[in-house]
Symmetry: C2
């Protein structure tokens, strides 16, 4: 009673213990949850185990994860991660999304237009070097510039020294900075993808839910110098899968979480970000669907766009529910109050860190009036995006590395050019529809007198402007883009391509806005984040995991059903369930049975496990992550979280939060019996 | 704006219209929802249709519904409605619940010990006669006595005149009184029941949920004078079932709802009733489970008791959530406020009806301090219950009919004696365990000095008292009960049977308590209910349906899936789903596959519909109700409501409220292919 600080500390540590019992966390490979694993599962991963898993896992820069599953570079990920490249390789005549793809021989493996894959080969703590560079910066703005400069410098130095992609990663909101070096691959060829209806059975309704019945898998092969890579770092295939309650791991790249955000940040998200994002997404879905309704070919063109938008909408709608849930927010408030008391009870900590909450709140307060224009001053068009990148690119690369906009550092240029000069197709009709829609919305939301709207529309009809831009531009041709980028500022200023002309006109306003946000918001919240990160270390040590940043993380948990709608969801589903769900909807809409499954029914053992759930803490970006057992054998393939897990963006609840995976048994069974891909199974099963 | 009353009226009528669009209501056969049916489904049932359906439906006095499905008295209901009689006919050697039952010939059809079945043959509005008898009663207590007397008189007169079971039914909380005459059958023989695991696959977890995979059916045959009855009023069997979105009806006996209750009544339920009921149920379940854990035979004996208690617990826990849900209570409050404004705005209505809310609230306030003893002064034992009935019986039948306790009117005696002298077995070990448990709880909750506890225990240990009572009594023998009841007060006073002795000791306290509640609570709330019933008719006419009273009701709706846990629950399930759910739990616990289904798999068409859902408004008591189409053909068999429907005790939400039924296709398929009961299918399919 007379030691308040210890009492509060006790409460927090207790909460921490409960969380660890609940399999929470997306842990970095330098700080695995060894204590928790030993306590709950009597297992401690060795350094060798950790290194092997890390080197077997990949990041797909389309926005997902994957793993090597053979010594010859075979790479397993989700169909929905491969979807973008399938779309880009498809044509009106040949639709790989609808029909699937299988390369019966190595020769037939199909190159992806712009898929970059990264393997994390080393991690180095550079916190001291970054923080040293910030010391004595008189204002947050100066500090912001100094931080960018030192990061660009570290990355460039590493790139020059090792030739590896080198990214400085901010962890614990700035409590730590790490240099992550990646081996980069850009010759990634498609080996196998099932037809979409098998991969995405149940469609948007079943997305982010469970029980589930999806074969959401794809296989690529990674090449270097025209040949499949060879490596001993790959995950052995275990077609038996994991038993109920067995310990399993996922290693992948969760995109982003906001679990360490302050209350003012959460309230800003709730009030200013989510409502606008949802509004935008809904409108874009309506536009894309209207375009798709024009016919089979428009539907094919807009397919991946609609998938992505709907996927985002459902995910965001359900994480938004967390922000709107009074009990979630009350728990967050309680955590913050306890943490704040702990910091202010220590005079040294108080002086160094306690201003962070107020400064964050003030900066976000300042940002509020500008958020609407932030969201609605956007051109929803691939070509407009490319034009914008070209205009920025030629201006930025002239500057010293450390002074450039983030994204244009020397260390980032190779990957940038890979995407910029991609041979992926553009669909002019779809571009026009999207641009028209987004311009109509901008005019309606911001009014015709908004300076940005005036520049873009100049009083003309959105449709006319969109038509002129899309039909007039030559940027669909990668050679044209290359010529402009390599021609530098002279070529870009001389260009009369309407997309380039518009990007030039918008560039000053865009830079000004960016600068305003950097000076008034980001620089302040970054500084405050660093303060809170240090405060957290001071109070608790490195006992926790940082928020997700699309970098490699290890999660652990167990195969386990969960309470659902008055009953129990099972730990796994079976092929029987696929046939049940299809028949129970009379094979209509997103529940029709793929032809191969319809015709192949009697070949299959219907009691074979198809999907399963585990308590592993994952979020978007983990799609395609392997699920592995203690022996680092692959037993499953993450492809989703259940609807209850989407609040995981802000908070993890082990009672109902579940990762959803494809079972190795079903993948093996389907490859052999339905897809006649014995050669792949032989490769997977090779010792 | 200047006509507030019309404005409010408009709001309420609008709410009524919305409700009708949502397929709400358990309608009496004198007042079917003809307008709603015509507007939404373009169908109007004829009087002939209504009469035929009414005469084809039955009430099972074990607490469920059923229907005739052949011209020779074949009666379809649920396995879980038949369960009690299956239990009573089972022995240590022959367990019909575990193994199921099939009478291959009529000779083998098995008589039920104490199942009474009622068919509603006529309905007569007796409101005027009842209300006339109440006129001028100076106090609620006098009114209460007068009401009982006139009701007993009407029932007796009808019984004497027609020989039919005659019940006066209170509808619209006393807004109407109806004389319902029933043809009564007491020779009801079991023809078919599947093994429990097929009927109740998924057990307690899946109970009250959907998707579902249960063959929850049983067939009885009704006999009279030793022969099957013959009738043209039966429902034709349609093995194709109903299509998605098709209009379907249920006709059955919903047990009770409290949708027209006042706020003070709902608050009383929330604060005083539900918490105590839940506490009692949980304790009784623990006692029964502990007994069942002693071995196979104890488990068999306690089986139906545990089923019933768990079924009740899950149902009550989930309807309780409605009372705890602020938005449900706010909507109820809004309805009450609007209704009250409407009543008080009319001077005549105000004078006649508006005191009802306050008088109800005051009476319930008075009852609150007495509720704990009400709940915990109970003997949980079949034998103690029988003793209590015998002691009351011999005292009551000496009085003039109209002055007896309700339950002992002349019109009710035949059914009472049928139950009292039933040959159903009692299980002494289970009786002892239950009595010990409930006495321990009474002592713990009320203290050893509570007058009731003192009478029962007299300072002794609950276990000793229970053992003495159960091992000393002879009441398990129906002949002993008969002798006592027929021996009248003299025989009962002379008895030294310990159960009778205890019942005699408790009788004065019990009568005193009953009288206190009648005088202070029931008489007041009944009068208030009548006022509000009349007010409702005055304001809205007879545009709505009365709360459920375990009397025959017609519900309508359509076959329809519903939004569930982020996705859509399908309109139906298939046999595939049964195999999926079993395999997905590794055939463990309540998910093991019945042997017949395991071995018979390849004989079945697995895409056959098994269960389906519809928007029909039903509650407990509707179990066993037929689902029929426009042609009054049977397409399904109600056996449950989904978890979302349990709040239906207080409010109907058409968005998610679903009735769950067994599909006629699955029943037909299983009878033919798994149970080799072709003779029954032939009878069902006979034109």
């Amino acid at each position: 009673m007379n030691n308040n600080r210890n009492c509060i500390l006790g409460l927090i540590l207790l909460a921490g213990a409960a969380a660890s019992r609940a399999d929470e966390g997306m842990w970095t490979f330098d700080n695995p949850p060894a204590k928790q694993l030993q306590a709950k599962y009597h297992f401690t991963p060795t350094q060798e185990w950790l290194d092997h898993v890390r080197l077997s896992c990949v990041r797909l820069n389309d926005g997902g994860s994957g793993s090597f599953v053979s010594s010859r570079g075979l790479l397993l990920t989700n169909h929905h991660v491969a979807r973008g490249q399938l779309q880009k390789n498809s044509t009106k005549e040949r639709d790989y999304i609808q029909d699937g793809f299988y390369a019966a021989t190595t020769d037939q493996e199909m190159k992806s237009p712009d898929l970059e894959v990264n393997v994390l080969v080393s991690l180095e703590n550079v916190t001291a070097r970054v923080l040293a560079a910030l010391k004595g910066a008189p204002t947050p703005e100066k500090e912001f510039a100094a931080r960018n400069a030192v990061i660009a410098g570290i990355e460039k130095e590493s790139l020059d020294k090792t030739g590896l992609r080198s990214d400085v990663v901010t962890l614990y909101q700035g409590g730590e900075y790490w240099l992550y070096r990646y081996k980069k691959y850009t010759d990634v060829r498609l080996v196998f993808a099932p037809e979409e209806q098998a991969a995405f059975f149940g469609g948007d309704p079943d997305n982010f839910t469970y029980p589930r019945f999806d074969l959401d898998m794809a296989l690529f092969r990674v090449y270097e110098n025209g040949k499949p890579i060879e490596s001993k770092d790959y995950l052995r295939w275990n077609p038996k899968g994991a038993a109920d309650e067995e310990l399993v791991f996922t290693a992948g790249h969760p995109g982003s979480t906001q679990r360490l955000d302050t209350m003012s940040q959460l309230e800003f998200e709730r009030d200013m970000v989510y409502p606008n994002v949802l509004k935008l997404l809904k409108q874009r879905i309506a536009i894309a669907k209207a375009y798709a309704a024009r016919g089979a070919e428009p539907a094919r063109e807009a397919g991946s766009l609609i998938f992505g938008l709907q996927n985002g909408l459902k995910s965001i709608e359900n994480s938004y529910k967390g922000l709107l849930n009074p009990s979630v927010m009350a728990a967050k408030q309680k955590d913050e109050t306890q943490f704040k008391s702990l910091v202010t009870a220590n005079p040294e900590w108080k002086a160094a860190y306690s201003s962070a909450w107020d400064s964050t709140a003030e900066a976000l307060q300042k940002a509020r009036p500008r958020m609407k224009t932030q969201f609605f001053r956007t051109l929803d068009s691939r070509l407009a995006g490319l034009a914008n990148t070209i205009v920025e690119y030629v201006a930025e690369i002239k500057k010293p590395d450390g002074e450039r906009l983030e994204g244009f550092y020397d260390s980032q240029l190779e990957s940038l050019r890979f995407r910029l000069f991609s041979s992926a197709p553009t669909y002019p009709g779809l571009e026009m529809a999207r641009l028209t829609g987004v311009l109509e919305m901008a005019r309606a939301e911001l009014g015709p007198e908004d300076p940005w709207v005036k520049i873009v529309l100049g009083g003309r009809a959105p449709k006319d402007v969109a038509t002129e831009l899309v039909s007039g531009t030559k940027l669909a041709d990668p050679a044209v883009r290359k010529k402009l980028a390599e021609g530098g500022e002279a070529a870009v200023s001389a260009s009369d391509d309407p997309m380039i002309v518009l990007a030039r006109k918008l560039d000053p306003m865009q830079r000004e806005t960016r600068k305003w946000f950097e000076d008034n918001v980001e620089s302040v919240t970054l500084r405050a984040g660093e303060q809170l990160g240090k405060a957290r270390f001071a109070a608790f040590g490195k006992s926790t995991y940082p928020d997700a940043t699309f970098t490699l993380r290890l999660s652990y948990g167990q195969v386990k059903g969960f309470p659902m709608n008055g009953t129990i969801a099972p730990p796994k589903t079976t092929l029987y369930g696929l046939y049940d769900r299809a028949a129970s909807f009379d094979y209509q809409g997103p529940f029709y049975l793929p032809l191969r499954f319809k015709e192949g029914r009697d070949k299959l053992d219907l009691s074979m496990p198809l999907n399963f759930v585990s308590t592993n803490d994952i979020v978007g970006g983990n799609s395609g992550s392997p699920v592995i057992n203690r022996n680092a054998e692959i037993v499953g393939l993450i492809f989703d979280g259940n609807i209850e897990s989407l609040v995981g963006h802000f908070v993890y609840d082990g009672e109902t939060n579940r990762a959803v995976a494809v079972h190795t048994a079903a993948m093996t069974e389907a490859l052999i019996k339905l897809y006649k891909a014995q050669r792949l199974v032989d490769e997977l099963m090779a010792k």
